[in-house]
Symmetry: C2
Subunit: 448 residues, 2 copies
Amino acid sequence: MATTIQPISPAAVDELAALRLELADTSTVELAEELPRMDLAEQALRFRLLHKDRALAVFEELDPVHQQELLDGLKTDFVRELLESMETDDRAKLFDEMPAKVATRFQSQLSASDRRTTAQLLGYEPESAGRIMTPDYVSLRASMTAAAAIERIRHLRERPRHLDVLPVVDGHRKLLGTVTLADLVSADPDTLVTDLIADEHYQVSTDTDQEEAARLIQEANLIALAVVDHEERLVGMITWDDAMEVLEAEDTEDAVRAGGSEPLERPYLSAGVFMLARKRAVWLLVLAVSASLTVTVLNYYETYLANVTVLAVFISLLTGTGGNSGSQASVTIIRAMAVGEVRFSDAFRITWRESRVGFLLGVMLAAVGGPVVGFVYGWDIGLIIALTLLVICTWSTFVGSLLPLVAKKVGIDPALVSAPMVSTLCDATGLLIYFSVAALVLGPVLTG
Amino acid sequence: MATTIQPISPAAVDELAALRLELADTSTVELAEELPRMDLAEQALRFRLLHKDRALAVFEELDPVHQQELLDGLKTDFVRELLESMETDDRAKLFDEMPAKVATRFQSQLSASDRRTTAQLLGYEPESAGRIMTPDYVSLRASMTAAAAIERIRHLRERPRHLDVLPVVDGHRKLLGTVTLADLVSADPDTLVTDLIADEHYQVSTDTDQEEAARLIQEANLIALAVVDHEERLVGMITWDDAMEVLEAEDTEDAVRAGGSEPLERPYLSAGVFMLARKRAVWLLVLAVSASLTVTVLNYYETYLANVTVLAVFISLLTGTGGNSGSQASVTIIRAMAVGEVRFSDAFRITWRESRVGFLLGVMLAAVGGPVVGFVYGWDIGLIIALTLLVICTWSTFVGSLLPLVAKKVGIDPALVSAPMVSTLCDATGLLIYFSVAALVLGPVLTG
């Protein structure tokens, strides 16, 4: 045996067989979770061992960032095959995330028609319904019978991924409505498609906001939603699974913003330390600058602090509590707005409710805190703390509920009103309340 | 004309006709949003004017709290009809929210079989897959041909709401897999159902956690997921629309908890002021008690404050900034855990990354804040503030990323780690850092 040729050792063959078995035992979802945690060579090895259909399913499950990584580790012909088999909207999303140069290189490998449909989707505004619709659908004519429609589906050359809801169009591709496959199957074969069109008709336009389209799909329990152009002609369908993804991404954005950070727009572990820092730096700086208001307030009252040092002892407790009650109110209102339970027109009702909630909470904290502080630090200090807690809670809860409403009114996403922002804004005003109450109770002792 | 009988005036007839037209022009989703904002009589009037199918569709869109309200305003026979037409899982949810007495009264109005299936669902643990599955499904036998399966579907006496994914069982009701209606329709009529079973098989058990089942539906893009009992026998299906609802409810819980409040479990406007206060009171009190740690720390350093009063001026700025950077880290990690991007086994990697992120942010704030403070308050104070910002940012970001991981480890929902909790915990430690740095820089001036 020539020594220059390395035969595959029986051990290696066994190992591959074992790996193949292991892969067969792992579900697509689990694989899509595990792959990005391996190094590129390991990922590529496993990927090549998968059956073609399965490889595609796993690939489509991956985040665009991880898809791109994996493509770098695969052979060109395999890459082309993968890209061509992807759903058009998923492919558009992947290209959108790539650096333009890389995207162009990959796009050039696609067939002319795939290139065209991808480019079409990429032509719509980011975050628009046009971007997430699939142009691969089967449409029916209103004048067909149910039997003819089923025959048409049965004899499709290329079967689109989704067939559960089928759009019905007229001779000019104008959308007339949708029928479900279940209705087609259950109907008498001679029934006309026009008689099976769902009573309730929903559609969006290509430039509708993605989140709006996704919420409609969720609220109206649609499996697929038709997308039309400005002439009301059918151009695509948004399916429920893409809607779920959009809503999850929106919820992630809202959740992260609630903590005062900008969304990463990629999986956490694939973001570098500098990127993580950058996503937080601006807000942290803005908040710190706003927080310097507290420095101004405290500076202004420095004589008070010098005269009655014990007042300084409660600064963090009081501002912290104000921030907490404000955050509680703001997240509650922001979420209620996000899921459509309240609107700006409810503003008066909401802030009035919240002020009373804040008052109740203030009464509770004052009843607990006042006596304890009074016992340890003297009854005048106890009174100051009790009164301050009462006013701060009412005020912060009011402010916390008002801010998201104001944001909505001036056209900012209410989710940008973060807990840190509310507590920062409540800090300075809380201190003003504190020292005003103290001046009222202590009088000349403080100011003297 | 007898004066005792009030004829319906032509004006009233016109009004009803106008209302009917208006209702016809409003979509189900819009109606379900508007109804709960009207008083009960207005709701009931509109509801009775709707076509029966539409009334049911609107009713199913409503939150259980609003459903219950509306039932009180409707006639008994209409109520029975509505309840009988509801999907079993939605009906179970409604009964679950009602006071036991009311639920029993309504349940007694149901047919024996509807009563049985509802009771069955209510028998499963709250938050379990059993509670949200529908027992109304059509199952197929593996040995059937595609044509026979379609015939069976076509001739069903009662058509279940969902037919897009059909479970396949053996003679003992053991689940063998699922086929899609689209595959059945597209297949050659003589193909056996067993050959159409999806390669990838997912199922959950009745006691699987709802959120886990819903995430599986989302991640594997399933239209419906089969639920089996402990003998692997099919007992129900969970559909994608119910999964979306579960995920939205979970996201609402997480969002509200992130702000330090307990979830309302009902629409915001239908919760009273006392209920809102109660949902926040415990956390606010717990946090205020924890915040009293800051009082202890400040009390301990009171001599420092008396000696160098200017130190008090920066308390809120520093603790606020610490709380902000801690919140930024915790929400990012909590969300990454919720969507499955990171796990406890990544703990070391995460905290190490976050510490470096915190350090970078601290450097930035120190570089901005140190010189400004130094210029106004003197260079020693500037140095103290710069150093403190650096250490506090690193420390808070580390703590903020660690807390959700620790929660997960000890079996608490990481979403319970709220922004207010993180900032409260960072406040006391931040003050310790502040005074230690100050003692280091100022030495005997401070302590003397």
